[in-house]
């Protein structure tokens, strides 16, 4: 599966994104989204925080706003790779 991480906001305010391939089963992907999905409007009181959106590039309806801190540690390697590629 090709997944895309989009970052917007931050004090610099520049929108950046990165993609990476990762072997997810549908269940794994659904689980990841379920644990990391951000509650609606939960962070608008935070000013200059980063906003993150995760997307399965093969499914254009899969864009999900996520809480990056909720991503399980088992995906650290994948997310490190995505962070490093953000442009």
């Amino acid at each position: 599966m090709k997944i895309k991480l989009i970052q917007s906001g931050g004090i610099a305010g520049k929108k950046m994104s990165a993609s990476a391939n990762h072997k997810f089963t549908k269940e794994q992907w659904d689980d990841l989204i379920a644990v990391s999905k951000k509650a609606a409007s939960s962070t608008r009181s935070i000013k200059d925080g980063f906003n993150y959106v995760l997307e399965n590039e093969e499914d254009e309806n899969s864009k999900t706003a996520i809480d990056i801190q909720a991503i399980p540690e088992k995906y650290d390697k994948l997310f490190k790779k995505l962070f490093d590629k953000l442009k």
Partner: protein
């Protein structure tokens, strides 16, 4: 000995020991992090007045009161109090020294120029967390205000310095707090861009005031020290030119005039309608105003913008650029007179940016 009075459980023992204890007690890190995040969201979504009460729980400070926490390059739940007001010996960390000094300047700026007692005008403690990360695996290239305190990333790389390196950035972030207690501009679309812009305005004014730089001598750059080289994060004088071919950020996308307004969706992946993009327009209006008035920008232009920020009738939570223009024009007249140079300068600023 634990010195974290706010969150004593954060530092009662070193992180590796508390992690071990959590394992023994069956508390997993994710659950613990979730609880912390949930608490933080709860605080962040409270109304300012409630937050102030929550925060304080302490007598109103009549003088400057600061605390600095070290997050040890981790998410905030292991922050450790490393300095508080009254301690003569400053911490060894440069980031700590930077934020202590900058918060002092910010507090003094608001007190001396506008008789404002801290962020909430009721003596709120200025709490700052340095060396913060959202995820342990990644340096945090950012500074933010979470509704009750500040978080700064070290964010050091071959292209960036620490996010504590600029007084205007620290002034910007703490001004987000001031805005929360005044116009409380919604953080989306044009009101969000105004929220960003007021923060830039007072961020640069604090820097100019401390360095005694007049409007015409200032470079009007925000975050000049963060990006290594000639780039800065934003230019109020010429939005859209602060950086070019930057290895991290690419090219500066800020518009300077309404004709170039970025129509972006009000979503997480588009910065809630491009609040950091379109702030370039109102930033530029302020720059033109200050340049036209001449002299020190904090004296007249700053006073006008501060008065507008305090007027919740003229500047409602969902205010757009036109409402900000109207508010600042009215305040210019009230403070300096109908037909005054200040009023003409404000008018010119909003006209040249195409807002009115």
């Amino acid at each position: 000995m634990c010195t974290n009075e706010r969150y004593p459980f954060h530092c009662i023992m070193p992180p590796y020991m508390s992690d071990k204890l959590d394992q023994v007690l069956g508390i997993d890190t994710e659950t613990k992090d979730k609880q912390m995040r949930s608490k933080r969201m709860e605080l962040a979504t409270m109304k300012p007045a409630t937050r102030s009460f929550t925060l304080a729980g302490a007598p109103v400070n009549k003088k400057l009161y600061r605390e600095v926490y070290d997050a040890h390059e981790s998410p905030m739940d292991i922050g450790e109090l490393i300095w508080k007001e009254g301690q003569k010996k400053l911490p060894a960390l440069k980031d700590a020294k930077n934020v202590i000094s900058a918060a002092g300047h910010v507090w003094n700026f608001y007190k001396k120029l506008f008789n404002r007692n801290s962020i909430d005008n009721k003596g709120m403690a200025i709490l700052q967390n340095i060396r913060y990360r959202e995820k342990k695996i990644m340096p945090y290239f950012n500074a933010m205000w979470d509704g009750e305190q500040m978080f700064y990333g070290t964010g050091k790389s071959k292209f960036t310095n620490s996010f504590t390196s600029d007084l205007d950035i620290i002034g910007h972030e703490l001004t987000h707090g001031v805005i929360d207690f005044e116009a409380a501009l919604n953080y989306e679309n044009q009101s969000g861009a105004l929220n960003e812009s007021f923060s830039d305005v007072f961020g640069i004014l604090i820097k100019q005031w401390v360095n005694k730089t007049s409007a015409r001598k200032s470079d009007w750059l925000i975050g000049k020290n963060i990006l290594i080289g000639k780039n800065a994060l934003r230019s109020m004088k010429a939005p859209g030119t602060a950086y070019k071919n930057d290895p991290i950020f690419g090219d500066d996308p800020q518009p300077a005039v309404m004709a170039d307004f970025e129509h972006m969706p009000n979503t997480e992946d588009d910065d809630y309608g491009g609040v950091h993009y379109n702030s370039g327009i109102s930033n530029h209006a302020f720059y033109i105003t200050a340049f036209e008035i001449n002299g020190n920008a904090w004296e007249k232009a700053g006073a006008i913008w501060y008065a507008a920020l305090q007027d919740k009738q003229l500047l409602k939570k969902n205010a757009n650029f036109k409402a900000a223009a109207n508010a600042t024009l009215k305040k210019a007249r009230a403070l300096f007179g109908q037909g005054s140079l200040a009023e003409k300068a404000v008018n010119k600023g909003w006209k040249e940016t195409g807002v009115i």
